[in-house]
């Protein structure tokens, strides 16, 4: 199948770690790129220590996040500070079309393997460096996770309630935004190289990429001088627009109604068709002006409802509504099942582990089926012997020299 995979001819040397970096190269692996990931045995990937886990206390191979971000890759251990290890690394650079790294800015250069050094051994190399704030500037070496970049770029302050401290989005938010920009930039650079022979260095700052997910709010400031603030679930156009408690513990229903037809349909499903005639709610302007009274009415109805049943009834009437899905809901979701989103794949310790499938489908060259992320150093021999063509003696020397540490 490798012959027909979309990226079957792309070779990636992957020094990414944490979430944003590996999530980008996972997409390349999904579509058939050969991805060789280098990990240090002394400073293993932080995602090996982040929940959810197969078991507690966690072992290095029990982190689901790590499995999910690294399925489909070859996993190699290498000590970049070791002279012999450095030689192996440079051979891999010669082999690769793309080198990706997600260390703190300046780390690669300090190790003597910055872009200029790598270009000297592979002149048409495409190299991508991604970190929170970019490779230059006063905060270049500011290290951390996407929760911090989300705070620094405005997501934190645009999520929450007007009368409370900001809630901020869940988790390391910009770690989920930036990979998309990295993938697009990398593929465009590969296309440029194919046409011109020219490689290049790409600097993706999570912060700078992610600000494009807040474009209208940024322009509202640069154009209108308005600083947007958290406004709960209020929407400038939709009303009702909210998340309402349904019957049962932690069952919530999101409902968004845009126009009069939608509101009339909602009122009918609620068994209160007359609401659509109430002058407070009859037009979109009126509904926005009376959104609190409206929220009370809708909330009182949802409170009596079983959330999945109400979701079905509202969708049948053409109303945008969805249960706030938990992990259990999502794993059982028939739509996600249809899209093969949650895949149980082989795992050496746990038998199987769940990973997410590709978020898009290509009609002619679909994503590859994977096993779990390889265990630490599993593919050392494959990479050294099959990819680099080293003989057994050379591999033994490397082991003795501690290069694979």
């Amino acid at each position: 199948m490798a012959a027909s995979a979309a990226l079957a001819d792309v070779k990636v040397l992957d020094l990414m770690w944490a979430i944003a970096g590996p999530a980008a190269t996972r997409v390349l692996a999904d579509y058939g790129a050969t991805v060789v990931r280098i990990e240090s045995t002394t400073r293993t990937d932080i995602c090996r220590t982040v929940a959810p886990f197969h078991e507690l206390p966690a072992e290095p191979e029990s982190a689901v996040l790590f499995q999910n971000a690294n399925a489909g890759k070859h996993m190699m251990t290498l000590d970049l500070g070791n002279t012999a290890g450095r030689e192996v690394f440079l051979d891999l650079v010669r082999w690769a079309d793309v080198v990706c790294e997600a260390y703190t800015a300046g780390t690669m250069r300090a190790l003597g393997i910055g872009y200029e050094a790598l270009r000297a051994v592979n002149p048409s190399l495409v190299m991508l460096s991604t970190c929170l704030m970019g490779q230059t500037g006063p905060l270049a070496t500011y290290a951390g996770f996407g929760n911090l970049a989300a705070s620094m770029t405005g997501f934190g302050n645009l999520c929450g309630w007007p009368d409370r401290a900001p809630a901020g989005p869940f988790g390391a938010y910009t770690d989920y935004v930036a990979p998309r920009f990295s993938v697009a930039a990398l593929l465009a650079a590969l296309d440029h190289r194919r046409r011109t022979g020219e490689g290049q260095h790409i600097d993706v700052a999570q912060a700078e990429a992610s600000i494009h997910f807040l474009g209208p709010a940024m322009l509202d400031y640069t154009v209108n001088g308005r600083v947007q603030t958290p406004n709960g679930n209020t929407d400038p156009e939709y009303a009702p627009h909210g998340v309402y408690a349904a019957s049962g513990e932690e069952r919530w229903l999101a409902i968004a109604v845009h126009d009069d037809t939608g509101f009339a349909a909602l009122a009918r499903v609620m068994g209160q068709a007359a609401l659509a005639e109430d002058p407070r709610f009859a037009t979109a302007d009126a509904r926005r002006a009376h959104r609190h009274a409206l929220d009370e009415r809708v909330g009182a109805w949802v409170a009596t409802q079983d959330a999945p049943a109400a979701e079905t009834a509202l969708q049948a009437a053409g109303i945008a509504a969805a249960l706030c899905a938990s992990s259990a809901d999502l794993v059982a979701d028939p739509q996600l099942a249809h899209r093969e989103h949650v895949q149980m794949v082989e795992h050496p310790t746990y038998g199987t582990t769940p990973i997410e499938g590709s978020r898009f489908r290509l009609s002619r060259t679909p994503a590859a089926a994977h096993a779990s992320a390889p265990t630490l150093g599993r593919d050392n021999q494959y990479v050294l012997e099959t990819i680099l063509g080293y003989d057994e003696e050379r591999v033994t020397e490397l082991v003795v020299a501690g290069a694979l540490g």
């Binding site: 206390p57 934190g156 869940f170 790409i202 968004a256 945008a320």
Partner: protein, 413 residues
């Protein structure tokens, strides 16, 4: 960089960012709008709060570097002109509910019959097929249906979304990479294909793999004020500063614990906690709680210690300390603070584009990536409605001025 390629961008308000990313990377992106302009142009905020199709900041944020033509695709004359553009196009992006383009004769099969090399990208709420493929959607509803919403907000209030819609940003940005993967394959095979992007799946990435928790029997994360509740452990990230809030990655374990330890040493230096608090084993604290050596309630006390300390410092002081002392602290920035960021200024991030028709220049978020050899250029401000009808339908397709006038009078362009 992508300058040899043409993209026909038929997306409505759902999918605009995909075409803009390709346009930023150099592609010739033609936004095909209905006569009178895209629905996206009716989405605010607006310049000076004056609603107008050419003053929508939602539009501006997603259509830089594109050109615009208007065509009524529900009429034969409009579709015929689009067919002629399809013959010379490399990509087509659309974001209608599944079935809508097929009814118009503009589904993938129809378009591929005209141009088998085309990469046809569909951005939809739930994907092209499946039991929810035709479900009604909105940003809030997709954030709910994909998982992140339940995890976000204060524990005593309903789940809450990011105030700027995110769902289609995830889907559209995903689509840009997907389109270029299909393009890469086309260069080898000579064939296009259909790229089918699901917003629900794209947004699920933002659960940080918590979507998979129940598949391994791990408890769901629960939303908590300015943080998250993981089983018995309640973690808080948002803390008060003297002039707003900061985010602190207050966690334990081998990777983050050392940062927490350094923070507690700083607090101790300034008299904010006792030695015993300073000297806790922040690498192993979670294990100690699991074994009963420490109580889970101890985190609440620690959070209060940290909050009492950060309250006395400004956001700038806390950021400076983060740099000097290697701590995981970031200011919770307002959009003004983001625009005024010294880091972004030092990198020349913000880009000004002239809007001569409004007699002003507008400052835009800058390049999403720095490409050393082929930097992203800000070549054009977002187009006004049908601004390039003359250049594309006239000069390129050869329609005469009277023909264009007739089509305009008939409402086709």
């Amino acid at each position: 960089m992508l300058s040899p390629y043409r993209v026909l961008d038929l997306t409505n308000e759902r999918g605009l960012l995909c075409g803009q990313m390709l346009a930023d990377l150099g592609a010739d992106v033609i936004q095909v709008e209905p006569p009178g302009g895209s629905r996206a142009r009716r989405i605010g905020p607006f310049v000076d709060d004056a609603p107008h199709p050419d003053r929508s900041l939602h539009w501006w944020a997603h259509c830089r570097n594109k050109r615009s033509v208007t065509l009524d695709l529900d009429r034969d004359a409009g579709r015929e002109l689009l067919h002629r553009l399809i013959l010379g196009a490399d990509f087509l992006i659309e974001s209608e509910t599944p079935g809508v383009q097929e009814k118009r004769g503009l589904g993938y099969a129809d378009v591929a019959a005209l141009n088998p090399r085309i990469v046809y990208v569909s951005i939809t709420p739930f994907g092209q097929t499946g039991p929810k493929a035709r479900w009604a959607d909105s940003d809030l509803v997709l954030m709910a249906a994909s998982g992140p919403l339940l995890l976000t907000g204060d524990e005593d209030r309903p789940p809450v979304r990011v105030g700027v819609p995110q769902a289609y940003a995830h889907a559209s940005a995903e689509a840009a990479g997907a389109a270029l993967i299909a393009h890469h394959e086309r260069v080898r095979s000579g064939h296009g294909q259909h790229v089918d992007v699901s917003a629900q799946q794209a947004v699920a990435l933002a659960t940080q793999s918590y979507i998979l928790a129940s598949a391994v029997g791990f408890p769901d994360a629960r939303r908590a004020s300015g943080g998250v509740r993981l089983g018995p452990l309640s973690v808080r990230f948002v803390y008060p500063a003297s002039d707003g809030h900061v985010s602190i990655t207050f966690l334990f374990g081998p990777s983050v614990g050392p940062f927490t330890g350094r923070l507690m040493r700083w607090i101790h230096e300034e008299g904010g906690c006792d030695e015993a608090t300073r000297d806790k084993d922040y690498v192993r604290l979670f294990e100690q709680m699991l074994s009963g050596e420490e109580s889970f309630g101890e985190t609440d006390r620690l959070k209060d210690v940290i909050a009492a300390f950060t309250r006395t410092k400004s956001k700038a002081e806390l950021l400076a300390a983060a740099l000097a002392r290697d701590l995981l602290i970031a200011p919770v920035a307002t959009t003004r603070e983001v625009v005024e960021s010294t880091q972004l200024a030092a990198r020349g991030y913000w880009q000004d584009l002239a809007h001569p028709e409004l007699g002003r220049s507008v400052r835009y978020p800058g390049p999403f990536a720095r490409l050393g050899a082929t930097p992203i250029g800000y070549r054009r401000r977002p187009p006004t409605v049908g601004e390039h009808n003359g250049a594309i339908l006239g000069d390129e397709l050869g329609l005469t001025a009277p023909e264009l006038q007739r089509l305009a009078a008939e409402g086709v362009v």
